[in-house]
């Protein structure tokens, strides 16, 4: 795809802003998430992806761009990422992008990546907190037609080659892969300790740095492929989750008495719910 860059890694970090899960309610009438009043924050594993990108930059040089698709209120969060250490940020924002499922989201993000230009690595978080689940990184890799690794624990550049060494989580273990660049890699939550804001960058990041905001026109996206129109899946209904009828019997007394009651219970526990 792109010729090997001798100036370090060109990394794009895909970052999403999500509402704090405990503050979101589902509006059962409109079948939508009601995030009004919910505080937002950067999807936590995306900060691990950013930290991974900055560490790679510390080691190999290059530059780190931030890419996000979402409403205009995402912008201040992208500036935070600039204050932490990213070099540039781009927000894909257009009414036409709203209501996108994974297929439409990954198409739009891929158009954003292409517009940013030549890249070596796209880093994502393993999954976003607000519903969608770990499908954006593989989908993005497919649109871009590059290698993919999900659930990465460790990433290292192989010196002198357009290749990474990536450790990936598996069920009950892990594997080490050699990965051709360019690639899309999703990073597990908590694999590193994201660094704090660099106060020397604050003024630049929060005020001066330009954040590119691109709409459908800028990206020349196909309206049939973005937003609600480009989403093959639809919400067909919502349903209250029935919680099983539990006995909710309180055991009280001293710790010793409770322990005895619990021990009796566990000894005689036959497994039937009954009563």
């Amino acid at each position: 795809m792109n010729p090997a860059s001798n100036n370090g890694l060109r990394t794009i970090v895909c970052l999403k802003v999500v509402p704090r899960p405990e503050e979101v309610r589902v509006d059962a009438e409109t079948m939508t998430l009601d995030r009004a009043g919910a505080q937002s924050f950067i999807n936590p594993p995306d900060l691990n992806a950013l930290e991974t990108a900055l560490k790679l930059k510390d080691a190999c040089g290059g530059e780190v761009s931030i890419l996000s698709m979402g409403p205009p209120f995402f912008e201040p969060y992208l500036r935070l990422a600039l204050a932490v250490g990213a070099d540039r940020a781009f927000l894909l924002s257009d009414r036409a992008f709203g209501g996108a499922d994974t297929l439409a989201t990954t198409y739009t993000l891929a158009k954003g990546v292409e517009k940013i230009g030549a890249f070596d690595l796209v880093l994502c978080g393993e999954e976003s907190l607000d519903g969608a689940t770990a499908q954006v990184p593989p989908g993005l890799a497919e649109w871009l037609d590059v290698a993919q690794v999900t659930c990465a624990l460790e990433i290292e550049k192989v010196p002198g080659k357009r290749e990474m060494r990536v450790q990936r989580e598996l069920k009950g273990g892990s594997e080490t892969l050699s990965v051709d660049l360019p690639a899309v890699v999703s990073v597990k939550a908590n694999v590193n300790e994201p660094r704090f804001i660099d106060y020397d960058r604050m003024e630049w990041a929060l005020q001066e740095a330009p954040v590119g905001v691109w709409g459908a026109g800028d990206l020349a996206t196909d309206p049939e492929l973005t937003g609600l129109a480009g989403s093959p899946t639809t919400v067909a209904g919502v349903r209250q989750v029935a919680t099983p009828d539990r006995r909710r019997k309180h055991l009280s007394g001293s710790a010793g008495e409770i322990a005895r009651a619990l021990a009796d219970l566990l000894r005689t526990q036959t497994g039937s719910r009954g009563g």
């Binding site: 899960p21 979101v24 309610r25 589902v26 059962a28 998430l33 499922d101 994974t102 297929l103 990954t106 198409y107 607000d130 519903g131 689940t133 770990a134 499908q135 593989p138 989908g139 497919e142 290698a147 993919q148 659930c151 989580e169 598996l170 069920k171 273990g173 892990s174 080490t176 050699s178 990965v179 051709d180 690639a183 049939e224 480009g230 989403s231 093959p232 899946t233 639809t234 919400v235 209904g237 919502v238 349903r239 209250q240 989750v241 919680t243 099983p244 539990r246 006995r247 909710r248 019997k249 309180h250 055991l251 009280s252 010793g256 322990a259 619990l262 219970l265 566990l266 000894r267 526990q269």
Partner: protein
């Protein structure tokens, strides 16, 4: 919308991607075969298992016994171990050749890795991490209604993919009960689907794999579960589990903090469990957690906060410090051995 590569009226049968380690099928694949059988019977469709890999003869024979009408085998030396590119290329070829109506995957690391990419290649919809599946037989082209537990509590969303085929979904391990082995004579037929993989397009290479003893908490008869309240120390819980012959389980916080292996996570991101008894210590009881113990026969909750929502989902409620309840409980159980 992206035009579907497969038209609804030509799409047929319910397919399950059969994940395996070379010698045996993954638990979630057996669970999907059981649910797939049920959906197939209800809708009059056939059930197909897709087995991919290298030198699969004995596994293919084994797979026939779990209720599928047909096992389609796709073999290639490049499918010896899982790599996204090789497996996605092969799966896409099989799908475009055979045109499944519904295609189900376990929401395992490899299942999610493959399904996420394949769905985009096929320009179709993928519902991730389903907690239930249903089929709408009143729809002309058999619609899958895939349920995902929405976040924010108490509500599940039903997702449908109306026009594009196959209708793809990944399903959490433990949500359905596994298929039982059938007796001889009730087995399906086996067929092969040739695939061609270009080695030049396989852009990752597996250098090393380290798989430990994987724990499977979905099969545990008893669980001792810890959350943030255990404050990093599962020692007491482990002793208790030992006395009860129970497995350890954990909330997401306990896993994210690195206090315990990820395989032990219970809930929406973790596993759905069905123990006879679960003793849940220091877990607040967020909906994303409680979906994982919904199928337990009896739930005991120990939490120092009387307002903790976990008590809504418990049969026996102990409002107390787990560190003052567990030691005497352990002594009681030791004494009565």
């Amino acid at each position: 919308m992206a035009a579907s590569l497969i038209r609804p009226e030509e799409a047929q049968r319910i397919w399950v991607w059969l994940e395996h380690d070379g010698t045996s099928l993954e638990g979630v694949s057996l669970e999907l075969l059981a649910k797939g059988r049920e959906l197939a019977d209800r809708s009059g469709e056939g059930l197909v298992g897709l087995l991919m890999g290298h030198e699969l003869d004995s596994l293919a024979d084994e797979a026939l016994g779990y209720g599928a009408d047909e096992i389609v085998v796709a073999e290639d030396p490049l499918l010896e171990v899982y790599t996204t590119d090789a497996w996605c290329d092969a799966a896409a070829q099989v799908v475009l050749e055979k045109k499944p109506n519904i295609l189900l995957f376990g929401a395992t690391p490899d299942g999610r890795d493959l399904a996420g990419r394949l769905a985009v290649r096929l320009r179709t919809g993928l519902t991730a991490d389903c907690t239930d599946l249903e089929i709408k037989t009143d729809e002309p082209a058999l619609m899958l209604a895939a349920e995902v537990t929405g976040f924010g509590g108490g509500v599940a969303a039903i997702i449908a993919c109306k026009e594009n085929r196959p209708q793809m979904a990944t399903v959490r391990p433990g949500v359905f009960r596994p298929a039982l082995r059938r007796s001889h004579g009730e087995e399906g037929v086996q067929s092969r689907c040739p695939v061609r993989i270009d080695p030049g397009r396989v852009r990752t290479r597996v250098l090393e794999r380290r798989i430990g003893e994987a724990v499977d908490i979905t099969k545990a008869e008893a669980l001792v579960v810890g959350g943030r309240g255990v404050k990093g120390d599962f020692g007491l819980l482990e002793t208790l589990a030992g006395l009860l012959g129970a497995e350890l389980g954990a909330s997401r916080v306990a896993v994210d903090e690195g206090w315990i292996e990820k395989d032990r996570m219970i809930g929406q991101t973790g596993s759905v469990t069905r123990p006879k008894v679960a003793i849940v210590c220091g877990v607040s009881g967020a909906m994303q957690f409680t979906v994982g113990i919904m199928e337990a026969d009896t739930v005991v909750a120990i939490n120092s906060d009387p307002e903790a929502p976990i008590f809504e989902s418990a049969d026996y409620c102990v409002v107390d410090d787990l560190f003052s309840i567990l030691p005497p409980l352990i002594r009681e159980l030791e004494n009565s051995r």
